[in-house]
Symmetry: C2
Subunit: 424 residues, 2 copies
């Protein structure tokens, strides 16, 4: 078995160890939402502490109905019986790999666990770069070619994955690309897995969001969860919206043999969350705003240091290309230098499937909001979160690290006028 | 993928559907502990409702330390860093299959999910019957022969599994068999997976319990959880005690890509549970007593109806052989008749890997304690739980079903004097 500890989780544990040993390390490596649980959700969990039955494998009816309502409010009519819940969207994605079968086309770069899961499932990832300037979707024309090649080699290809908006790039695929990908998937008879766990964290609430489920409902699975929008990563709850009964049967077969059901008290709280009561809608909106402000500010620091950074559009990530800084080696070496010499933990692009010589790193900005609940709530409530002393100090640490990383006098020509720098 | 919904979970959902439709069905199919959460655990969960971080993949340090203490009190010195926690012991068992690799020797019969998981993991189960009169361990002599045959066919065999005490048979392997199996495992270089989730529910607290970890610590993984002893099935928490660092690394690689970590509030409550405070020790003792009384009573009913039943020694299961009742067909057909004509849900032995023509069924007795918390607590507290009206009514329903199933006048010669009938 050629799989190691998930890169993000490993980096987070390494940074925690270094901090316990007294090192000052900025954690820009871990995609945890970095915000407190809303009290209304805590109340729901607490009220459900008597719940100890396994319950249905697909998840409690109330949770499935609430999740269906969530999707319906986003223009996707949903049968609650075609919703399957899991202890996080990660196990749901793994179960999809087994249930659909065959190799899977992944965007390059893409979230570390997609490719790693293929190793566990005994299939192969087919890595296809996103269209230029985009992220989270493999280029539709290249998908057709790559799948044809794989099939000519005798491989079975079952699915193609998109992340809307994307981790690691922070970018949102254009409706045009999504439409074209859906068309290609139809021609190739691929199931589309649309990981929309960051959907409610698209920074611009007026941005046009097109899900493949809007255009190819017969073949699109949508996965989501509450780990990011409501910061419930540690509660482990995810939901999948399935396009067909046979896929539901196959998913439940996998689910029943691997995880049985998500934790019952968590399901109760999640059922409440997916009804989207006003206080949680407001919390998600405040989180979205904070993530956007900080992600853009950090992108601005990288841009000023000479990196090439596409402006983050969703979630709490950016994916700067540090090539202009004039360093040699691999992205992994660069991440090691940033961590060990400059106290900044990021993940190398190679962890996301990019070529090691491409000097991109993934920067997660959500652990900058503060180390404790009080600071995190202050960041959430602040009209100017960048001016909070602990956020400003973290950004200053980052500036110092980037300055130290950049050879003196270089890069002269960056940022070129042709690139739209991300403004803080 | 040749896997269907877990037989136990499917049966439970089918019975729930029938009840909603107005059928009167006795649920003897589902291995849920059927008892309420202890208030001390509810308090711990509620107190941890702020916890929303993913935390370490291996599980929180406090939980791993508490689990290590649990095993140490049972004579197994344990390094907390060699404990890995998961959302139930089921995902831990699945991760072990992937992490160890190769085919696995299973007792025949054995819990439905072991063999089903091999289908998902792409390996094969090697089914070996238990020594006569035992359950939960494959016969050591037959293991050696079966593994040699499989290896001669070019298969890789990595592990052998035991369930102590056993589901479905309710039997506890003798120390002699465990010792011999450990010896065989050593000779064949197999990892032993010892599923001890029912360990604290061995009915006779003075029974001699030998874990393979006592005699082959270098190669034994012990899995456990709180689903059975403390009725926390729906909370999804399990623990594994690993024999080596490489296996830990491989397990964490799988865990980090499939489930990340168990739900954080549940981990806090579980950490408390594994310290074994007096109120929980008392609760487990009361549960053990109740499970034993009811399992023996149900075994007695089957024996009186003419079935062959080995006396249950642990957990809340029995595995009667209904052959003497003179019916033809398969165990699956028999279970269908019991459900559809007589309103008694059990699982056929074929679901546990037994030959379909062998007319054994697995009977789970833990859902007889009552339909609500009040009745379940009353059953737990009662000196004579069999005399509680709802328990007596359920047993009477069972008697009627068994009488109707048995051809009139038959079986004349059952039970023979040579079989020790289980006394209620």
């Amino acid at each position: 078995m050629n799989v190691t500890l998930s890169a993000t989780l490993a980096a987070n544990e390494d940074i925690a160890r270094r901090r316990r040993a007294g090192e000052r390390v900025l954690n820009l490596a871990f995609g945890e939402a970095g915000l407190p649980v809303h009290p209304a959700l805590r109340e729901r969990l607490e009220a459900a502490s008597r719940e100890n039955g396994y319950g249905p494998v697909a998840g409690a009816a109330a949770l499935r109905e609430a999740a269906a309502g969530y999707w319906e409010r986003r223009g996707l009519p949903t049968d609650p019986d075609l919703v399957v819940c899991g202890p996080g969207s990660k196990p749901l994605l793994y179960a999809l790999l087994l249930a659909i079968g065959g190799d899977i086309v992944l965007p390059m770069p893409s979230w570390v666990s997609y490719a790693a899961q293929t190793g566990l499932a005994g299939v192969q990832p087919i890595m296809v770069p996103a269209p230029s300037g985009e992220g989270g979707t493999p280029d539709p024309e290249q998908v057709a070619a790559a799948v044809s090649r794989a099939r000519a080699r005798g491989r079975t290809v079952g699915s193609v994955l998109v992340t809307l908006p994307d981790n690691p790039t922070g970018r949102l695929a254009t409706p045009r690309t999504v439409r074209r990908l859906a068309q290609v998937a139809r021609e190739l008879d691929l199931t589309i897995i649309s990981d929309e766990i960051y959907r409610d964290l698209v920074h611009d609430p007026d941005a046009e969001f097109l899900s493949p489920a809007d255009v190819a409902p017969e073949r699109t699975v949508v996965t989501s969860g509450l780990s990011k929008s409501l910061a419930l990563g540690g509660w482990r709850i995810g939901v999948a919206r399935l396009p067909s009964w046979p896929l539901r049967e196959a998913m439940l077969a996998v689910a029943s043999e691997i995880w049985s059901s998500p934790a019952a008290p968590v399901q109760h709280a999640a059922a409440y969350a997916y009804t989207e009561p006003p206080e949680l809608v407001e919390r998600v909106a405040a989180s979205r705003r904070l993530h956007g402000i900080v992600a853009r500010a950090v992108a601005g620091r990288f841009t000023r240091a000479g990196a090439i950074v596409a402006e983050p559009q969703g979630g709490f990530y950016l994916y700067p290309d540090l090539t202009p800084l004039g360093r040699s080696g691999t992205s992994g070496e660069l991440a090691t230098v940033l961590l060990e010499r400059h106290g900044v933990g990021v993940l190398p692009g190679s962890a996301f499937g990019d070529r090691p010589a491409d000097l991109s790193v993934r920067v997660a900005t959500s652990l900058l909001y503060g180390e404790d609940e009080e600071r995190r709530l202050a960041a959430l409530d602040s009209p100017e979160p960048l001016e909070l002393p602990w956020v400003a100090a973290a950004l200053s640490h980052l500036d110092g690290a980037l300055a130290a990383l950049t050879p003196r006098g270089c890069p002269a020509a960056w940022p070129p006028a042709s690139l739209a720098p991300a403004a803080p």
